[in-house]
Symmetry: C2
Subunit: 559 residues, 2 copies
């Protein structure tokens, strides 16, 4: 714990050490609003004007007291001058510049590699804030207890280092830290630790999902994922959308299909299960927690429509569930969906919003996650950057389903043998090979296919005037296939009631959904994007189990 009272700095002649402290913290705060609140103007003005590293100090609005995070116990003025403020690795390697050279800092993290010699050692430490580790140079003559300390450092060990930032003579990094002291915060037994320096298979890492964020790949996925999530909120909030947390536990089944998980508090003893009167073999869910059968949601769309029909534009972003027993690289039992819903919006508005959204979030990660994307391009997908840059710069193609079918027929006719599913006609549910040909070969960019046959789409989609199609859209992207599915919703009460009947659904179950069409009904549209599929698309990682922290699949809910 470092406590630095700025008021206490003697105005006349502060020591170099105190000045260093002020410079580091002022650098941290420069150009942020905090600076104006917490620092005397002189401190700010004299701070070097660099891109501000992330702020580790907490804003404290009633005083000018500033704290730097550290694990040492209690605040004390005596340590204030000995333990310098902590910087994250990112603040040095990515956000830092030459003004940091010569500054004393604290760095904390985990050992990635160590090359130990009698007179000095190189330790690479990583704290999760960046892909690259920071090189710490420990000189036997300067670091106290050199041999004893070094003998305890192995891959995975947690360290606290105090030292001075230097320009690095080695290649691969611009800065390094010359250690004054190295503390082993938490050791790591090299015999027992499952993560050694060598590369592990992604499958092996799934078995140690609690440790795998310590690897380059999974940490990079986690950073990109976090950036995509934030960019999502940022985009919709800036566009005037409200965030809706749609319910997870529900009694309604939006899609009218799909295997659902039951949620229950009924006992695990058969003899204690309540039975339906007169039907001893049926469990009586009216005696369950919610007084009715309850499930995990498959989509927040219905709630989204209720809120859009009151608030205008809303979006959900949260977990959804499918109890499908499929072990593929594209399916999870628990995944996350982003579902915007817009009132007074037709299918064209819907496509425009989806295009703007996808471009905005990809643009965000291109800017914020440069290092991680370069890593993915190097190790997972050589075409990654080209693919992402095309996405943000080219306008998305738009093709009606009927035209897409015609184009496919024309192409398939050239060589039927090249296709697994050569029979494509109006009414055909397009297969992945068809979708990929459309966006990868024909249009060579993200492509909306819209106005699908009404029979192959959900009941709530709006009938077009042709009597054959609905105002549905899918967004296909090269490399992945379908990324987004959406539609304009049927807002005409009579038509929707007829559709429910046609699809064999019970009007009574949808009473409140129909109410939205009874009272002040408006044209409205929305779409859903599977977040993990997006993470795969943006990172080039193929298996969706790597796109989420703790994947849930048939047979697996550990961690």
């Amino acid at each position: 714990m470092l406590l630095l009272q700025l008021q206490e700095i003697p105005a006349a002649a502060p020591s170099k050490r105190v000045l260093d402290q002020v410079r580091i913290i002022a650098t941290l705060c420069a150009r942020t609003k905090l600076a104006r609140q917490h620092f005397p103007p002189c401190a700010i003005q004299s701070a070097p004007s660099c891109r501000p590293p992330r702020l580790l100090v907490s804003p404290v609005s009633t005083s000018t007291t500033l704290y730097a995070s550290s694990s040492t116990a209690a605040p004390s003025t005596s340590t204030a001058t000995t333990v310098p403020a902590r910087l994250k690795v990112r603040d040095i390697l990515i956000n830092g510049d030459d003004s940091l050279i010569g500054q004393r800092v604290t760095v904390k993290g985990w050992t990635r590699t160590i090359r130990s010699q009698k007179t000095f050692s190189f330790i690479e430490i990583n704290d999760g804030s960046s892909l690259g580790g920071l090189q710490v140079v420990a000189d036997a003559e300067k670091v106290c207890d050199y041999e004893a300390v070094l003998s305890k450092i192995h891959t995975g060990a947690a360290l606290g280092v105090v030292g001075v930032i230097k320009a690095s003579p080695g290649k691969g990094q611009k800065y390094e830290v010359a250690a004054e002291s190295v503390e082993v915060v938490g050791g790591c037994d090299p015999e027992a630790y499952p993560l050694q320096k060598k590369r592990h298979t992604l499958e092996f890492l799934r078995g140690i999902a609690h440790l795998r964020p310590r690897t380059n790949t999974l940490a990079a996925v986690a950073r990109v994922r976090s950036a995509l999530a934030f960019a999502t909120h940022k985009f919709f909030q800036e566009q005037g959308f409200y965030y809706l947390q749609s319910p997870i536990i529900t009694a309604s089944d939006c899609e009218g299909a799909g295997e659902m998980f039951r949620v229950t508090t009924l006992p695990g003893k058969v003899s204690e299960l309540p039975r339906v009167e007169g039907e001893e073999d049926r469990i009586d869910y009216s005696q369950d927690f919610f007084g009715a059968p309850a499930y995990l949601t498959v989509s927040g769309q219905l709630s989204g429509e209720a809120y859009a029909c009151a608030m205008g534009d809303v979006y959900t972003f949260g977990p959804t569930f499918r109890a499908e027993n499929s072990q593929t690289t594209r399916h999870l039992a628990e995944f996350n969906m982003i579902e915007p819903e817009m009132a007074f919006a037709d299918l064209q508005d819907n496509m425009r919003n989806a295009e703007a959204y996808v471009k905005a979030i990809v643009r965000h990660v291109l800017k914020e996650c440069e290092e991680d994307l370069a890593f993915f391009e190097k190790f997972y997908d050589k075409t990654l950057m080209a693919r992402l840059k095309t996405l943000v710069s080219e306008s998305f193609a738009r093709v009606e389903y009927t035209e897409a079918v015609r184009l496919l027929q024309e192409e398939i006719a050239k060589d039927r043998g090249a296709w697994q599913f050569p029979d494509v006609d109006f009414g055909t549910d397009l297969q992945t090979e068809h979708e990929r040909w459309l966006c990868e070969k024909k249009f060579q960019r993200a492509t909306f296919v819209y106005n699908y046959p009404r029979e192959i789409k959900a009941f709530y989609m709006r009938d077009n005037e042709d009597g054959k199609t609905v105002a549905a859209m899918d967004l296909l992207v090269p490399g992945v296939g379908e990324l987004i599915g959406g539609s304009q919703r049927e807002e005409r009460l009579g038509r929707l009631e007829a559709k429910l009947e046609e699809f064999g659904l019970d009007k009574e179950d949808y009473w409140w959904y129909l109410d939205l069409r009874r009272f002040g009904s408006v044209p409205h549209s929305g779409y859903g994007l599977g977040f993990e599929r997006l993470v795969c698309y943006v990172t080039g990682v193929e298996n969706i189990r790597e796109a989420i922290a703790f994947p849930r699949t048939p047979g697996s809910a550990t961690f």
Copy 2:
């Protein structure tokens, strides 16, 4: 649909109508990055410099084509000059200024009230973007089919209005729209619509949760809630935290207590349930979907710790569940939690982060939701603004549990009869009356109580050196009581193992949690904040069922 090709505007003498279009859209874009991408500099420079209203047009990066949202079918150049761009009510009443006066706009929304007369009518329309509605003045001589149209407008009807913005002579609003045309997009039968102009009880509204966001209170809650959610992401992302979506379905029970919901795909027919071999009365969950008993999570903390011990600082924000059969105004079966977890952080760091976080998000809503907060102060809590302003301006009090007990004993001794629970001693779990006295009477501001007796806190909290207390903290706030609970986590493997045994928990169940202490263990801390309780605190709404869109409580999972 309005399609406006800026290139097509004749440079020499554009008509006034076209100039109006350009001005509106340029105003919309002014001071945003979009402006630079999409507009010729002259258009931007000549745009009136007002606070930019929210942007309804989608960024289209490859051309200068701009679209304004509207429900009319296909783009056509002929309509380009007749249907002006849509503005939301917020863009006029809250973000707008006098430069909007005289501009033709489209406004869409739902009728709140209508005062109809033979020669003119006043219609208040609301589109969810603000609390206040926009007054539309319809003049019988100007609006086509005046009588026929007006006869169809009742509370709740959806309208599309084209008109000119004027300064309003009436009191209560600064601007109004003089209608050129009024279209009834969706009617609303006044006999059947449950939401009439009169005030409804919150309890009544819970029964129509799909319509209640159309009321002032619930729409204001939804807006404030959305702002709080965004401010949460913004705060943590700016502080260098990564967003972690912790799993919803889980096999572990973090708190080692608490009623949990079971997740299953086993059939509802008793005869079809798989049984444990040799124990015919026990259901065999090894044959269930996940191959093991699975539950809905009660906390993301354990996953948070795994990620913090790799990535440094992370936060979760998502649904959590408690199958408690309690019908109170403070409990939900499904609610949302924010759970930050920080590596290399002790309890002091934890309190500082919690204080900075709570202040940042309240500051955000004070700025962004002024109108809604004024509404809540007027109708729900007269002390609201004072309470919130104190929160952001005063530093939080900090008191050790032992000292809090001493203060309480001292106070209780003065008049034991005034207390429902007058027996307070070291080891007492503080009651709400104690907590409220501490923060409301004694310290009169948000108060951290910390270092609690180890017996009354969870197994994972770090033992203090006194042998009696753990490094736990609760944040108490006036009016609500406990808002945050957190702790430094026990990072010492031996101590944690002993603690598990002491609490009667099975080490095997926590193998991966213990691994975090085996390999590069670090001091780390975190806390949890119940999001719905925060919404109650910030809005002054008392019942937690109003703080969430679709509340789930015992006996109720409809909608």
